[in-house]
């Protein structure tokens, strides 16, 4: 494939001169932004309304006070949301750490060495993406049960750290850009391959690791099917299953539900404000080159 240098994002190439088209494009973009933000904004304001206030003021008026926190207390106490956050955080931290360790290990072994069956192993990883995991869930369920991992945190962790092809792909790309001279000069100093992996490869890969860790963490935080299927026990609720259980408990009291929805959205919204560049870069690199 031809290597083409990436253009600066701010460079103009389309040269839209037609004023009507320009106006139409702006209207479309602004409309898009409104469609994105309005629902979240409304959820945010009604989360601070009491039942009575919600009944009389409706959806669009600002709440009397942003200090009315009963709905949030309700979600945390009745909805066991803190337990959900605790379990989800545990899953995220352990799974992301393990998956990054395994992913960099695979990429180092494949990216730096030639060996028999290397092609076969790469094909095995690639081919697994053809199997849609949603369809095999019925059988995966029997595997998890067979390993006695049903209703444990370990089951989902194993499912989360299993081969992540996009991650391996991005890591391989990154490793191929680390100059081999670095490895060679370390070998002159007598460093072992393991030492090279920990003291040269890993530090050099930091940007890719950060991006992949964020994307993986987001996937786990937002996942529904794994906790629903493999950890239905109420003490193992995650953020996602806690909000599902909470919604079943209460009859469309939307101001209370809004507090739950908003509480679930806040952590990723905050992450997005700080890590937006990494997330966008991770997504566009993974798919364009992939």
């Amino acid at each position: 494939m031809k290597k083409i240098k990436k253009r600066n994002f701010s460079q103009d190439v389309m040269g839209v001169n037609n004023p009507f088209l320009r106006a139409f494009n702006y209207v479309l973009l602004i409309l898009g932004v409104l469609i994105v933000f309005t629902p979240i904004y409304i959820i945010f304001i009604i989360a601070f309304k009491s039942n009575k206030e919600y009944m009389f003021s409706g959806n669009f008026q600002l709440p009397k006070s942003f200090l009315y926190l009963d709905n949030f207390v309700n979600v945390i106490v009745k909805g066991k949301l803190l337990l959900g956050f605790q379990n989800t955080m545990f899953l995220v931290v352990v799974s992301v750490t393990l998956s990054i360790i395994l992913g960099t290990m695979v990429s180092y072994a494949i990216g730096r060495f030639e060996f028999r069956f290397k092609k076969t192993i790469i094909t095995a990883f690639l081919l697994s993406t053809v199997i849609p995991s949603v369809t095999t869930q019925v059988a995966t369920f029997s595997v998890i049960k067979g390993l006695h991992l049903y209703n444990t945190l370990a089951g989902p962790i194993l499912l989360y750290i299993g081969a992540d092809i996009i991650q391996i792909y991005i890591f391989l790309q990154f490793i191929s850009k680390i100059p081999y001279e670095l490895d060679e000069s370390a070998m002159v100093d007598g460093a072992s391959y393991f030492k090279i992996y920990t003291s040269i490869i890993l530090p050099q890969m930091r940007p890719a690791i950060v991006t992949m860790a964020i994307l993986k963490g987001l996937n786990i935080y937002n996942d529904m099917i794994t906790p629903v299927l493999y950890m239905p026990k109420s003490s193992l609720r995650t953020v996602t299953t806690a909000i599902i259980a909470f919604s079943a408990d209460q009859n469309s009291q939307w101001n209370v539900m809004a507090a739950g929805i908003f509480a679930v959205l806040v952590p990723t919204l905050i992450l997005y404000i700080f890590a937006q560049k990494f997330i966008i870069a991770g997504l566009s690199d993974g798919s364009v080159k992939g």
């Binding site: 083409i4 253009r7 994002f9 190439v13 389309m14 040269g15 839209v16 001169n17 494009n25 479309l28 973009l29 898009g32 932004v33 469609i35 994105v36 629902p39 959806n59 695979v106 072994a109 494949i110 192993i121 095995a124 990883f125 697994s128 199997i131 849609p132 995991s133 949603v134 369809t135 095999t136 019925v138 059988a139 595997v143 194993l158 499912l159 299993g162 081969a163 070998m187 072992s192 391959y193 393991f194 992996y197 529904m224 099917i225 299927l229 599902i244 939307w254 539900m257 809004a258 929805i261 679930v264 959205l265 990723t268 919204l269 992450l271 997330i279 966008i280 997504l283 566009s284 364009v288």
Partner: protein
């Protein structure tokens, strides 16, 4: 230790666990799925009896299966529209426009939000009596017009599919922006000299250069539509009376509610075959046009 020995150790140790995981949680379940599909297993540890193609025949001959596929079509349709909308947004965000970073960041934002929370948010927005959309519609039409988003009609599937559109259009846009940025500026400059307008550039530069990535995204859209699960599972439970069941929700209920793992497995295998067929057809179409 010699480097040769070290190399062997690194390869074996570094690949061992990932390969075990790959075998256990990817390939083994796929094989088991095929095995289960020929049995009457109930998923509860009872014994397996091989019953030949009975599950497949049963799955393919019940009209229910075809109804669920019709429901999936709504998701596929919405996902295809969403792909082209994402492409158009990418093109204009990539053109001379003020605040492009703001637009990119804002439109992409839903992609990172918790899908279940968003589904509940939409079930509130879709509410017939108290939902904000209908309140606005009634206000504008003096109470004459409101929409039953979640009813017993087919359109409910479209309402559910639109939740995916809200979540993923920005994702498609970001992927297309990345692809657009690797198209050489020379093309655009040459086109500019030839007096090409916006549409000429879209048609003769962007579409041909992005052909592969557009096709990939369309494949992902069809694939996602075939595997639609999330929204009906959270909001309608496939109801009323299975009118919003998708292929995957009905597989799920067959296995986990009706303890018919054998039949559910055969449905899983069928879906796998369909997805691989779509992939092959898409590859074939891609190669055919390359000549």
């Amino acid at each position: 230790m010699s480097y040769k020995k070290q190399k062997t150790m690194i390869i074996v140790i570094f690949l061992f666990i990932p390969l075990i995981l790959l075998a256990t949680f990817s390939y083994f379940p796929a094989l088991r799925l095929i095995q289960f599909s020929f049995t009457d297993w109930d998923g509860l540890g009872g014994s397996l009896h091989y019953i030949g193609f009975k599950n497949y025949i049963e799955a393919l001959t019940t009209p229910k299966l075809w109804l669920t596929f019709q429901n999936n079509l709504a998701y596929i349709g919405v996902a295809i529209i969403q792909t082209f909308l994402g492409l158009y947004l990418a093109i204009i965000v990539n053109s001379k426009i003020k605040g492009k970073n703001f637009f990119r960041a804002s439109l992409f934002m839903p992609y990172i939000l918790n899908g279940v929370a968003i589904a509940f948010m939409f079930s509130f927005f879709y509410d017939y009596t108290n939902g904000p959309i209908n309140i606005v519609l009634r206000y504008l039409t003096h109470g004459k017009f409101a929409i039953r988003f979640l009813s017993e009609n087919y359109s409910t599937n479209i309402s559910l599919g639109m939740i995916g559109m809200w979540r993923y259009t920005g994702g498609a846009m970001v992927i297309f922006i990345g692809a657009l940025q690797s198209v050489s500026t020379d093309f655009f400059e040459a086109a500019e000299l030839d007096g090409a307008n916006f549409w000429h550039k879209v048609r003769y530069i962007i579409v041909p250069n992005l052909k592969i990535i557009i096709q990939l995204n369309l494949f992902l859209a069809v694939n996602g539509g075939l595997q639609a699960f999330f929204e009906p599972f959270v909001l309608t439970k496939g109801g009323p009376a299975g009118r919003t069941d998708t292929f995957v929700t009905s597989t799920y209920y067959t296995a986990f509610q009706f303890s018919n793992f054998g039949k559910a497995s055969s449905m899983g295998v069928l879906l796998m075959i369909i997805i691989i067929l779509v992939l092959v057809i898409q590859r074939f179409a891609l190669r055919g046009r390359e000549d």
